[in-house]
């Protein structure tokens, strides 16, 4: 039994401690907003926040999340920065198929939390681990810059 705090709620989860957080979220808790892309931390689709830092949930064992604050895409809009990022995504028509965008939004929110006004180089650096096959990168960059301005 693992004790988790998911989006502010304390939960007891009955799962193999080695099971990746991704599958605890998706299969055990039924929270499907966090996406499976590769299972090897290569694409960023599964990004969540552990104590505010972006992590790839597909390679993070559930045991590593015990005692930490886990935030997923389902609750990132309750965060001031997360909400601004989501609004900027809508404004800039960022998403195409949208499958990678949960991870993109989580990575972008973590970036803006650590850097109020990231440069393009810093945006590229922070987002390079998130693959988008539809090619929405230009709009992601524009939306992050816009969200930074909105947050002031």
């Amino acid at each position: 039994m693992s004790k988790l705090q998911v989006n502010g709620k304390d939960l007891d989860v009955d799962a193999d401690p080695a099971m990746p957080l991704l599958w605890v979220l998706r299969d055990t808790l039924g929270m499907t907003g966090t996406k499976f892309g590769c299972g090897q931390a290569l694409c960023g689709a599964c990004t969540v926040h552990l104590d505010g830092a972006p992590v790839r949930s597909c390679v993070t064992p559930v045991s590593a999340a015990a005692g930490k604050k886990l935030i997923t895409i389902e609750a990132i809009g309750e965060d001031r920065i997360g909400k601004a990022v989501q609004a900027a995504w809508v404004k800039h028509d960022v998403a195409q198929c949208g499958y990678c965008q949960s991870g993109q939004v989580m990575s972008a929110t973590a970036l803006l939390r650590s850097k109020r006004f990231p440069t393009d180089a810093e945006i590229n650096q922070a987002m390079a681990g998130n693959i988008c096959r539809c090619g929405t990168y230009m709009r992601i960059r524009a939306a992050i810059r816009d969200a930074a301005v909105q947050l002031g």
Partner: protein, 733 residues
């Protein structure tokens, strides 16, 4: 024409030139009438539009949303003709149902006097069947959604519904129809100052006959088309609420994962199930003809169980095949007996002038959709219920009936949001569907979700075919191309896409030569244009060099003045500053490709760094797609196509070793990342040409424009992709 036949009414109004199959289908069994009645309750039904008494207009979209934003664009087209307020419009994915069969896909080709695109014709690996069956497709492909479904279906349906609402209001008020106008979802009568909402008219309108003819708006009358309301789907995509196929959850659902023979076409011989069954959570091992599946309580246990297995597959001569043996086979085939004629004009052998020849090759490519292949099924009392993310919902349902042996009526398919398609999720590929049917039978009555690992997704793709070509041309002393002779390796979906050439060349002989491999092929974004765009536009540049002409000027010489092609070229040259100075080492390349009814020209500014790697600095694209429905989503599609084209041209290749695909995940297959994306400038020119596609058309000019820029910068001609596997020698010229 009665309301009950309205579905066909929306089709027959258009030009009176419809495929007979549509009429036959409707007349045969009354199916459309029944479906129309079901969907019409309780409101007026007009084609794919439902107007409810509460004034909500629901537009049923037959295509999958694979990211194109076409749900928004198609709803706009219906709303435009209906004169609905955008705020009252909703877009809904239509069910996988023959009532929504994508007949407009085929009609679009028929009306232009052309045949179906090759990838949609009957063939061995990419068969949809003949045209008669094609009307039963709900495919999302061929960049067809807006230009066919939207133009012929939804605009007409919107106009017809508006017509009926006007008649209803005239009757209700006892005033002449000519005194009425429609605006923002209301009918208005200026003389009496009365206004009534559409929802209040639907009951009366539903009793009317559908109009036999409708007049669509002129472009100058558009109020909504050409504006850019926010895409309807994005809010749910940034909050994790959108449900993709992989997100399906059913009570008591199990999860399966699978490993098929890495060498395509081989069979499962033997597997010891024990190691998987020993993993906690694993329920069952299911042997399939060419694969082994592990079923468990969740994906993690299923994957762990599968990893413990050592399945043995049959092995034949294909186990010796490599990329090199395939290339050699292609080269031999190109030199063999005469190929199949693709296009011929004049006397290609008799022209006088100097000869230029070159050979080009492109590799297999993978779609690498971000959502791995998955599908969920429930086998219950001899019936099948399936949920999935497919580009062709009805085609998937037909395939499920096919692989299960059930009647279509006993197969239900629920289309879910699609996490990337690019051709991978089109109907011809039904392997995962066949797998899930067998697995669902084995675990019935439990529902089961089959998820392929990323490694399986790479290993069992439906790859963009590798193709080799050899081209020769005769150029006269004025630099005019007198003859073009080309042979290329045939794949079922290749022929005719890309030919005839857009250039005025009197003598042409284009041939295709068959050289099948055991590697599975599929349609990949822009289909054959991804290969032929590179071949044609690279060689045109080589001809320009041989003629000592500027590449832009050389192309203009071979295009008629006033043509769409020439206009697009001139526009892109102007926007990109063609001929203006650049930093040392930088150079521009240009390419022009017509595909899916749109004409696209691109200029790429590139250089080569100290280590010999190409660097892309800027892409300028100009698109003529007739007119633009939603400028922002249109630009979005072209930007995405350019980025996918750059990704492929720079680094993507699927290679074969020991008969199997070598690449198994992203590091082996470098998809472009944000830090590698150059500045991209996309603009549109309007023309009176027919509405063209957008989902694919940005991609084909990318590779040749880049290769042409590298040649201009370094003098080194790239004749083989991808560029970054370079260091290797170009094929012989």
């Amino acid at each position: 024409m009665k309301r009950r036949t309205w579905l066909i009414g929306t089709g027959t109004v258009v030009g009176g030139a419809l495929g007979v199959g549509v009429l036959g289908l409707v007349a045969r069994d009354g199916y459309y009438e029944r479906r129309a009645k079901e969907l019409a309750k309780p409101a007026l039904f007009a084609g794919w539009i439902v107007i409810a008494p509460d004034n909500v207009v629901t537009v049923y979209i037959p295509h999958s949303d694979i990211g194109q934003g076409s749900h928004t664009a198609l709803a706009m087209m219906a709303a435009e003709e209906l004169d609905a307020a955008w705020s009252q419009v909703r877009a809904e994915q239509a069910p996988a149902d023959p009532a929504f069969a994508n007949r407009h896909f085929i009609e679009g080709f028929l009306l232009k006097g052309r045949q179906a695109p090759e990838f949609a014709r009957s063939g061995t690996t990419l068969a949809f069947g003949e045209i008669g069956r094609l009307v039963n497709m709900q495919v999302t492909g061929g960049s067809a959604s807006v230009r066919f479904t939207g133009q012929m279906g939804l605009r007409t349906a919107g106009a017809a519904a508006r017509d009926m609402l006007l008649t209803a209001a005239a009757t209700q008020w006892g005033v002449p129809r000519s005194e009425l106008v429609t605006r923002e979802g209301t009918v208005q009568h200026a003389a009496s100052g009365r206004t009534i909402r559409y929802g209040e008219l639907v009951q009366r309108a539903a009793a009317l006959d559908a109009p036999a003819h409708v007049t669509l708006k002129k472009r100058s009358e558009f109020r909504l088309i050409g504006t850019a309301p926010p895409r309807l789907d994005i809010p749910d995509k940034v909050t994790g609420r959108t449900k993709y196929g992989i997100d399906v959850s059913l009570p008591g659902m199990l999860t399966a994962t699978v490993m098929a023979s890495p060498v395509h076409g081989e069979r499962l011989v033997q597997v010891d199930e024990g190691p998987a069954l020993a993993v906690p959570g694993v329920r069952k091992v299911v042997k399939l003809p060419n694969a082994v599946a592990v079923v468990a309580d969740g994906y993690w246990a299923a994957r762990t169980g599968l990893a413990a297995l050592k399945p043995q597959f049959s092995s034949g001569s294909n186990a010796q095949v490599t990329s090199e043996t395939i290339s050699a086979r292609f080269d031999t085939a190109l030199q063999s007996a005469e190929g199949k004629k693709v296009h011929s004009a004049g006397d290609a052998a008799g022209a006088k002038g100097s000869q230029v020849a070159a050979a080009y090759s492109v590799p297999f490519l993978h779609h690498a959709t971000m959502e791995p292949i998955n599908v969920t099924a429930l086998w219950e009392a001899g019936k099948l219920k399936v949920w999935g993310s497919e580009q062709d919902a009805l085609g998937a349902r037909n395939n499920l009936a096919d692989v299960s042996g059930l009647a279509l009526a006993d197969v239900a398919f629920t289309p879910m949001a699609v996490g990337g398609g690019f051709g991978r999720r089109s109907a011809p590929k039904k392997d995962h569907l066949a797998q899930v049917v067998e697995i669902a039978k084995a675990v019935a009555p439990a529902p089961v979700k089959l998820i392929w690992s990323r490694e399986e997704d790479f290993a069992q793709g439906a790859y963009r075919p590798a193709v080799t070509t050899r081209i020769e041309a005769t150029v006269d002393d004025k630099g005019q191309v007198q003859a073009w002779r080309q042979r290329f390796i045939d794949t079922p979906e290749l022929i005719n896409e890309g030919f005839p050439l857009p250039y005025a060349i009197a003598n042409q002989r284009i041939e295709a030569v068959a050289a099948p491999t055991h590697v599975r092929y599929g349609a990949w974004r822009s289909v054959a244009h991804s290969q032929h765009g590179f071949f044609t536009e690279s060689f045109v540049d080589e001809l320009a060099a041989a003629a000592k002409k500027d590449p832009l000027e050389f192309r203009r010489m071979h295009l008629p003045p006033g043509s769409r092609h020439r206009r697009v070229l001139d526009e892109v040259a102007q926007r990109a500053g063609w001929g203006t100075p650049l930093p040392t080492g930088h150079a521009r390349g240009i390419a022009l490709v017509e595909s899916f009814g749109s004409v696209v020209a691109e200029v790429i500014e590139a250089s080569v760094d100290a280590s010999g790697l190409p660097q892309v600095h800027k892409v300028t694209a100009v698109v003529d797609c007739g007119f633009v429905v939603h400028p922002d989503t249109a630009a979005q599609q072209v930007q995405g196509g350019i980025i996918m084209g750059l990704s492929a041209a720079l680094g993507e290749a699927i290679t074969i070793k020991d008969g199997a695909v070598v690449q198994r995940s992203f590091p082996d297959y470098p998809i472009l990342r944000m830090n590698q994306v150059p500045a991209i400038d996309v603009s549109f020119v309007e023309s009176d040409g027919p509405l063209g596609g957008l989902g694919e058309v940005g991609l084909p000019p990318v590779a040749p424009a880049l290769a042409n820029a590298i040649a201009a910068s370094t003098g080194r001609r790239i004749r083989s992709l991808p560029l970054r596997s370079a260091g290797k020698e170009s094929p012989n010229a």
